[in-house]
């Protein structure tokens, strides 16, 4: 083979190996990043509705809603749902959003409910995402919360409750 041709072939091979290494390196980084993203997303909760007319909410508004202070959104009455007392999602959600555990929330809602100030969230007894989504979807006034990653595309996310990094 002509020495020039031989050199060209070697250069192509080196380039090929180099590009392979670069592609693999970036793929590796991407995989790492995606694992990282997934681990954050797994801790996030979405407050959602089936009503396309509701605009997204601020953190303060969401806090006021789940403390029973805000009972109307854009002039329309809202209904809240909740997971069963034994579901760890419930404790986790209120800890992240309001810094309160399930016993504190229960005492708090007792003060509202037994003074006629607000109706406590409707507990979804089946305790499944499917049951929650079908309850929320049945009326435009209804609002629920669930893990963001578990939600289907046909619901509208009003706010994402993120766990603060420790």
């Amino acid at each position: 083979m002509h020495p020039k041709l031989c050199f060209l072939k070697q250069r192509t091979e080196i380039l090929h190996i180099l590009s392979n290494v670069i592609v693999r390196f970036f793929s590796f980084i991407l995989i790492l990043l995606s694992i990282n993203f997934a681990s954050y997303a797994a801790d996030d909760y979405a407050v959602f509705t089936s009503n396309p007319d509701f605009k997204s909410l601020s953190k303060n508004k969401v806090r006021m809603i789940f403390k029973g202070k805000v009972k109307r959104l854009q002039g329309k009455q809202i209904e809240l749902s909740d997971w069963s007392e034994n579901n760890p999602l419930r404790n986790d959600f209120y800890q992240i959003l309001l810094g309160k555990d399930i016993a504190q929330m229960n005492a708090y809602w007792a003060s509202l409910s037994f003074s006629g100030k607000a109706r406590p969230p409707k507990v979804i007894r089946e305790d499944t995402l499917q049951a929650l989504i079908s309850w929320v979807s049945a009326k435009h006034s209804r609002i629920g919360y669930a893990k963001l990653e578990s939600l289907p595309d046909n619901v509208y996310v009003l706010y994402i409750v993120k766990k603060e990094k420790q």
């Binding site: 601020s58 303060n60 109307r72 007792a110 037994f114 003074s115 006629g116």
Partner: protein, 363 residues
């Protein structure tokens, strides 16, 4: 005995519901309830706290309270009834603490019927001890109008959202004729005939605080009914037909992470009172302290002017389950100037130590 048995059956039934929160009877109707029972002991023979009557006999039913609430919701319409066996009631004679119809138009809710009197921060859930940290709301303030908690009339609740962070509820209310009988001691009952009452309540709520302000005015007649007050006098009464009470109250509650601070004052034409409390949450435990004071004003019924009573309280609440809690308290009461303070009548010994173990729950 029959009452004790009835009580036991009722509590057992209620406890069997305790795994649930509210019982949804249908989509629109829900049944919920609350209960509390305690073991109390005082070292003073004179009974303490109106409607509870804690004395030096160990008492198992001085605080016993059971309430059932039935709610009907349909869009803007609401109907609600709450039946409560209050501490002073017999099991077979519970009281209808509220029964009203409500209708919401935009951000105003109109109510008519028997309603709860919104005087202080916890007035509207006075009987739900699971909802506050102490075993009982501070006596100095919450019994400042003889423990009357309900009225017959109408009210409007105007909910105003201020920015994203605050909410102001303005509640004007008007009450019509009503009768209340208060069993003060075995020898003395007070019959209160309320001719008319009116007032307005402002409640400002933020993320970690509540401010409460109330103005209240009532015209009432008062009859003191004495039974066997002296040998040979089986019954006599003293009638004070035209009285007026005008009351202002101001209170605030702040929450800083696990720390909860609360204080309330009330000023009326017969007496002033206030309390302050500090509570701190450590996991399922909430240790707390509280101090309260009463001052009487000179009126045509009483010449005394000055401090009549005070109390200091130290206690701890423990959340046994999310809907069951327990309180252990030691409260020291003092009375001054021969006045009754928090006792139901002027005591022979002016001080008392009260120990309380209370269980509360909601369903």
């Amino acid at each position: 005995m029959r009452n004790r048995l009835l009580g036991f059956v009722f509590l057992s039934l209620a406890t069997s519901f305790s795994g649930y929160a509210t019982v949804e009877l249908t989509e629109n109707i829900s049944l919920s309830g609350f209960a509390a029972t305690s073991l109390t002991h005082s070292n003073n023979e004179t009974e303490l706290i109106i409607n509870r009557g804690i004395s030096d006999e160990t008492c198992l039913d001085c605080d016993t309270t059971v309430g059932l609430q039935l709610d009907y919701f349909n869009e803007s319409f609401k109907a609600s009834a709450q039946l409560v066996k209050r501490p002073q009631d017999r099991w077979d004679r519970p009281e209808l603490e509220w029964a009203y119809l409500g209708y919401t138009i935009d951000n105003v809710e109109l109510r008519a019927g028997r309603l709860r009197l919104p005087l202080f921060l916890a007035s509207e859930y006075y009987y739900v001890s699971h909802a506050y940290n102490y075993a009982r709301p501070p006596d100095e303030l919450y019994n400042s109008i003889l423990g009357i908690t309900a009225y017959n009339g109408i009210s409007a609740v105007w909910n105003l959202e201020l920015f994203d962070e605050y909410q102001l509820s303005v509640t004007p209310f008007i009450g019509f004729g009503d009768n209340n009988a208060i069993d003060i001691t075995p020898n003395l009952d007070v019959a209160l005939d309320i001719d008319s009452m009116s007032g307005i309540n402002f409640l400002l709520t933020g993320n970690n605080y509540r401010w409460n302000f109330t103005y209240f005015n009532a015209d009432f007649g008062q009859t003191l009914e004495f039974t066997n007050a002296a040998p040979g006098v089986p019954y006599f009464e003293m009638d004070f037909p035209e009285n007026n009470v005008e009351l202002y109250s101001l209170g605030a509650e702040y929450e800083f992470d696990n720390l909860l601070l609360a204080s309330e004052f009330q000023f009326n034409n017969i007496r002033n009172s206030w309390y302050a409390s500090v509570a701190y949450r450590i996991d399922q435990f909430v240790p707390y302290i509280m101090y309260g004071e009463n001052t009487a004003k000179m009126t045509e019924l009483s010449a005394f002017d000055g401090k009549t009573g005070s109390s200091s309280l130290i206690g701890v609440r423990y959340d046994i389950k999310f809907n069951i809690s327990m309180n252990l308290e030691w409260q020291k009461f003092h009375s001054f100037g021969g006045q009754r303070g928090s006792f139901v009548e002027s005591p022979k010994e002016r001080d008392a130590d009260v120990y309380t173990l209370m269980f509360s729950f909601v369903f």
